[in-house]
């Protein structure tokens, strides 16, 4: 049960941004800027950005964020969707680019202890073609999911167990992106 009175039956971060749109609007604006737009010189696709988010959420053991961002990544990867679960199971053997593997290694260090992101890790990513924007965006995606994950778990939000619930979320995230849901006070607009 959540630690504070959140909207009934609404899962994860969605319940938190509906409860507190004052902070929620900026949290969603950040997700939209990072997981969709990205830095001007960045080569990362939205699918890859969602995969980094899912990977960091897995390291933080936050099921809700891991499953919903994995679903968004699968939706965006379309016919390559299988590589998402392969990456989450084992980044080394997954059929992803060497550049993405090097960036996931940086994300892993940001999650565990950001002070351990070394010159060598960054040089390895550059060697595989990562730009300054790729490195910046990877560090901030990883850092921001260390926030989102703690926010979702720290208030003990609802985590659905039905995989179909996540596929629907993934499709919405993959198509409309991050937009603040309608406030809870108007049940007529509360369709999701």
């Amino acid at each position: 049960m959540p630690h504070i009175p959140l909207p009934d039956g609404v899962p994860g971060i969605r319940s938190l941004v509906m409860y507190r749109p004052d902070t929620g609007q900026h949290l969603y604006a950040l997700a939209q800027a990072l997981l969709r737009a990205g830095s001007p010189d960045s080569t990362l696709t939205s699918a890859e950005r969602e995969l980094i988010a899912a990977f960091v959420s897995k390291q933080n053991q936050t099921d809700f964020c891991m499953k919903s961002h994995a679903a968004a990544s699968r939706h965006l990867y379309a016919d390559q969707r299988d590589l998402v679960d392969q990456t989450l199971a084992d980044t080394e053997t997954a059929p992803i680019s060497a550049k993405l593997k090097a960036l996931l290694a940086i994300a892993d260090h940001v999650q565990a202890d950001a002070r351990t992101v070394s010159d060598e890790l960054v040089a390895a990513a550059r060697e595989e073609g990562a730009t300054d924007g790729d490195i910046h965006d990877t560090v901030l995606i990883a850092a921001s999911f260390c926030m989102y994950n703690r926010y979702v778990d720290g208030l003990a939000t609802l985590t659905p167990t039905d995989p179909a619930a996540y596929e629907a979320m993934g499709e919405r995230m993959g198509t409309v992106g991050y937009q603040l849901p309608a406030p809870q006070a108007s049940p007529a607009t509360h369709l999701s």
């Binding site: 630690h3 902070t23 900026h26 260090h109 940001v110 300054d132 990883a142 260390c146 703690r150």
Partner: protein
């Protein structure tokens, strides 16, 4: 040296914020709501100084020099802690610091969030409520602690530069306390000696 090419001379988070104004905007909007505007909502039981103390405490647990120094300086500015002794005592052992029992209970929650969100227990939330914390306070404490687990990683993960001179932090803290957070560069003295 920073891991990516950042504008020279901007300390801490301000380098990456100048590099990426598109993300700097929501990040600054978030701290301005969380650390400043929300303190003045009727349902809030946390002052701006207390919110900054939570940010400082979490940044010290994450051992982020820049964040704990600047937010410590802003907390001290709000709380009239001229010699920074109160902030120092909160970072050292908050249970013995001269702060309210409610703040101690909320700092315990913040410390759990820093470890991992699942570490926050119903008993910790109960203890904070028993000392007068509202739902609003519990929510804001968890989000401030979570947000600084992001800011600290952003600052350290890119190996940004942090000045050592406390005078610079005091100077900026006065501006922040008065005008709020911004990624634009009109707070920092451009010479070595701030006046």
């Amino acid at each position: 040296m920073p891991h990516i090419e950042l504008p020279a001379g901007l300390p801490g988070i301000r380098g990456p914020m100048a590099f990426s104004p598109e993300t700097a905007r929501p990040l600054n909007d978030l701290v301005n709501v969380l650390l400043r505007a929300n303190a003045h909502r009727p349902e809030s039981g946390l002052s701006e100084g207390e919110r900054e103390l939570i940010a400082t405490y979490v940044s010290s647990l994450n051992d982020c020099f820049f964040c704990q120094t600047i937010h410590g300086a802003v907390a001290s500015q709000h709380l009239g802690d001229d010699d920074w002794s109160l902030v120092k005592s909160v970072k050292g052992d908050y249970q013995r610091a001269a702060i309210s029992p409610k703040m101690k209970a909320l700092l315990t929650i913040a410390g759990s969030v820093q470890q991992g969100g699942k570490s926050v227990s119903p008993a910790q939330v109960e203890a904070a409520r028993a000392e007068g914390a509202t739902d609003h306070d519990v929510h804001d404490t968890v989000l401030i602690a979570a947000a600084f687990c992001m800011f600290n990683r952003y600052v350290d993960g890119l190996a940004t530069w942090a000045p050592q001179d406390p005078t610079l932090y005091r100077y900026r803290a006065q501006k922040v306390a008065e005008y709020g957070y911004t990624h634009e560069d009109h707070y920092m003295p451009t010479t070595d000696s701030p006046t």
